[in-house]
Symmetry: D2
Subunit: 328 residues, 4 copies
Amino acid sequence: MKVAVFGAGRIAEVHVKGIIRAGHEVAGIYDIRPEPANALATQYGCAAFASPEDALGDPSIEAVVIGTSTNTHSDYIIACARAGKRIFCEKPIDLSVEVAENCWETIKSSNPFIHIGFNRRYDRHIRGLAEAVKSGELGKLENLTIISRDPAPAPIEYFKVSGGIFRDMTIHDFDIARFILGGNPAEIFATGSVLIDPEIGEIGDMDTTTVVMRSASGQLVQILNSRRAAYGFDQRIEAVCSNGMMQVDNILLDATVKYTPERSAARARPMDFFLERYGESYDEAWVDFFARLDAGDEPGVTFDDGLQALRIAEAANRSIRTGEIVKL
Amino acid sequence: MKVAVFGAGRIAEVHVKGIIRAGHEVAGIYDIRPEPANALATQYGCAAFASPEDALGDPSIEAVVIGTSTNTHSDYIIACARAGKRIFCEKPIDLSVEVAENCWETIKSSNPFIHIGFNRRYDRHIRGLAEAVKSGELGKLENLTIISRDPAPAPIEYFKVSGGIFRDMTIHDFDIARFILGGNPAEIFATGSVLIDPEIGEIGDMDTTTVVMRSASGQLVQILNSRRAAYGFDQRIEAVCSNGMMQVDNILLDATVKYTPERSAARARPMDFFLERYGESYDEAWVDFFARLDAGDEPGVTFDDGLQALRIAEAANRSIRTGEIVKL
Amino acid sequence: MKVAVFGAGRIAEVHVKGIIRAGHEVAGIYDIRPEPANALATQYGCAAFASPEDALGDPSIEAVVIGTSTNTHSDYIIACARAGKRIFCEKPIDLSVEVAENCWETIKSSNPFIHIGFNRRYDRHIRGLAEAVKSGELGKLENLTIISRDPAPAPIEYFKVSGGIFRDMTIHDFDIARFILGGNPAEIFATGSVLIDPEIGEIGDMDTTTVVMRSASGQLVQILNSRRAAYGFDQRIEAVCSNGMMQVDNILLDATVKYTPERSAARARPMDFFLERYGESYDEAWVDFFARLDAGDEPGVTFDDGLQALRIAEAANRSIRTGEIVKL
Amino acid sequence: MKVAVFGAGRIAEVHVKGIIRAGHEVAGIYDIRPEPANALATQYGCAAFASPEDALGDPSIEAVVIGTSTNTHSDYIIACARAGKRIFCEKPIDLSVEVAENCWETIKSSNPFIHIGFNRRYDRHIRGLAEAVKSGELGKLENLTIISRDPAPAPIEYFKVSGGIFRDMTIHDFDIARFILGGNPAEIFATGSVLIDPEIGEIGDMDTTTVVMRSASGQLVQILNSRRAAYGFDQRIEAVCSNGMMQVDNILLDATVKYTPERSAARARPMDFFLERYGESYDEAWVDFFARLDAGDEPGVTFDDGLQALRIAEAANRSIRTGEIVKL
């Protein structure tokens, strides 16, 4: 299948590689800035499109990756859907639930195939936990803790346009919570602080947050986030069930273990950041994308999944403002 | 030093042993039920008092352990204080903040020496973490998670008089949070569910709870409780600091590790319950009790510590009722 | 039961405590040096014997602990056996197999109850592994590795009279190997070096050794010893079986775990040395000693066990001299 | 650089991929059986050579991979060296030290570039340990243990032509021992058993072996091998140094951890077998191969490295026959 890629940044390249590894063809790259598009196109031996329409108007191109800046996602989704393309759109759909809802209203009648790029659902470690929980081998899920701490904060310019920590960072954890719970939580409470960098507070954001959610059946979920962890990218999940418990532990840089006069059995640092830790999951998402198209199935992560995660993020922001539980 | 013990139940015997191991003398036992008092007295070769007054009126007895049922603590504290005894009172002081406050008002002018039995402060593992946090070797504390899950629920009769999970169980974790934070949190949110036994819900209690607290400087604390953990007594703490992280892990029944065709490096179950897991800490509390008396110091856990933990528990209950953050 | 203790050193006190904890009585202490005997007797409120005969001639004393220097063990065993006492003799029986054999020849007709102090058989971690191996739950034992490294070398004066590393240190591991194998190995190879302290080499001993043994059915055993481990007292066992593997890991000073920018999940150091690491096992040995006497059973560790371990140690020395496998 | 590949089996394909990933070109495949050569050539879009001479006579081909059956290695090395090709030869060079020595005598005057395929030297985990040992950060190496157990035995037909466990399997560990020691050991002792499959014994081989080596300075090395491990491919290294200890632990299939009523913190099984566990190392070897050619350096693993490992394997066989230490 021939796929066009919109966007030529770091994540776009991840998708280019994923498409190729999955055995499909990148037809060309479009970016609002021609230079990175040309560079990436040259590197991977494909076309650089002068405009999105060049790709959308090419009937041999069956699918489009939307890996551009978030505020353009919605318009590109509409354009791609209208052009009859299959869509792989990076998360989040938009920073505004309303915009995302309007987008869906506009396109839903054509029932387009839209996969939202929540790659962590394709991480085999998380998947192993989710499948074990679903299988019931450990009994019923009662308490789920998701820990996600970045190794170091991004530049403040990034945070200014990020939509805030819940829409930018926690949104992955909201999606994973929904994935493991098998549906939406019923209510949410959120709190947070500025402990790492006062500038983050000055732009109205937080760098250290705790979210608590509760499902309709009373299952509890905690999401602990931080924009910095001195000990490395901290990505852990813990699912307490009625008959046992299962965790996803950090994946470490290597398998060495050190014993010194001070401490025993010290392991390596965690893998550096998301492109390393979750690298495989991007590829797995592409394998799944094409397999589901082939089989005539729904996408593995639907537009609605993207919308629900965004709604939870907005509810988290509301809880921060009110100091109250917010019903979802 | 001669010590009288009020109460002849399981925890009273723990204190009898702790006093003896610390090199001091148990003068006698009093219990409202003479049989267990006589039995314990016979076992440890000391007197069985017919009434509390017998002990309070004996000038050779310098200290009294109050290990009776919670609703009697306050009166015994007052009686002991008036008799000029040093006091070791089991937690909680009372189920009511008001009663505890009135107790203090009644006795404070005599400035009695009252140690409240929050034994976990004397657990050397927790102490090691608290001291590392305090030392600043890992930077500043940013996020503290306390996990406490009992292996199995107590009988429903116990829960009926327990004052609810926050005053009965979480109160230990509130105290440990204060111990590690070095003071009171500024606000609290609590939520919970009945997932284990519907009877627990019928008496107005919960069996699975999550508490989030925030200190004045923005540090976040999560306390995760459950009245049952199929995989054993789960007692873990995790302190994320600006330069590193430190945990207290479960203490396991033995040091064996199994490798099977299914899983690698499987360790033993955790120690069964609090008398095993925290057994040493009861003894350490007694060593500290006598050492501080000798040195003329304040108790290691003060009446105010007991009162603050109780206030936090009441605030947690209020948060459950309102669905809101409660200021402390 | 009243027990006399011969010897007043560090290990003698361990036995005094073990006897008392097991609910029995220490009648008195004898040592060739009166001062430590008097000191220990005073501390534990028992008699100090002026001569061994004072204890041996007292019919109320039913058992004797031989915790004196190794070269006196054999004579005391004979004297105790002739006096009809039950005997608890520290390991090794003697430094010479011949002396130990002669000792047994002298006393065997009276079939005395002699327990040899291989305390590690009573360590519950090792016992758990031995029982799992014996149960067959992991299939048949194929390869057994015993690692024993002291935290630091003893003074050279100690080594001069120790009988060499195999009779002094490895003898514990020979016994544990026999305990787990359920019998004697068929052959042995040993090699070693002086890597820690040249003085150890100058007195004809080694500080770092490797022993390989093979059972009649072909099971392989490795014993790795060192007189020093910078990372602490290293006591590990690994039993590879046909259907799985089981280890005894080191027991650590506490349950804290550290994460730093350099390393993840660093645990505490191992417990300091044998009195800490194997402290419980000394008490368990005494419980077993009295229980077997009560039940009319053979001792838990027999004279023959002591003799076989010594024979293996001599064979190890022969292998060192010849560079060859030695049949046992 | 254009590379010809001799051999079209499983390992040949590993090298084809490694060459391509390193950014070089596979010119074509030769195999004595045309079908697999054609198949592999078709799959990777390169030529299938009708004879080795077709590749050797092509001046545009600069390097040749010898991935054929072991008994052909020596002749192909000579032919390639005469043709002026750079050589990447799979291990072992030959089953006979004499043949390997003669091979070298024949070609040494032309000083050919020959890399021997001891891929494990390129495993980043092992490399991390080897570099830490070499750096001296843990002091001086004193005791090295290498554990290598296959998940399950190969077919008996494989074993019949394998040259025996030491030349087939342990040879990797001999090489790693040399790599970590930084040179040859001085002496070796070997023992072994048939515990897994009597057929292995009937062909004169063993399935469970222990090797002990000693360096000139007294460092001890243990290599523990088995042709089967029920708990999975067991690949561990432990380097005890004067100031600490470092291990390479098994690499597990995933990062999940399970807690059940029976056991705590059970991890996943190890990766299945060498193509998975050491997959990266094959690629790294190719990167190094080309980098050293570029830089004009010696190969990362020399002909002499291959020869020394083979000599140690022969010495191990001699020790088995004699029951004695063999000097190297």
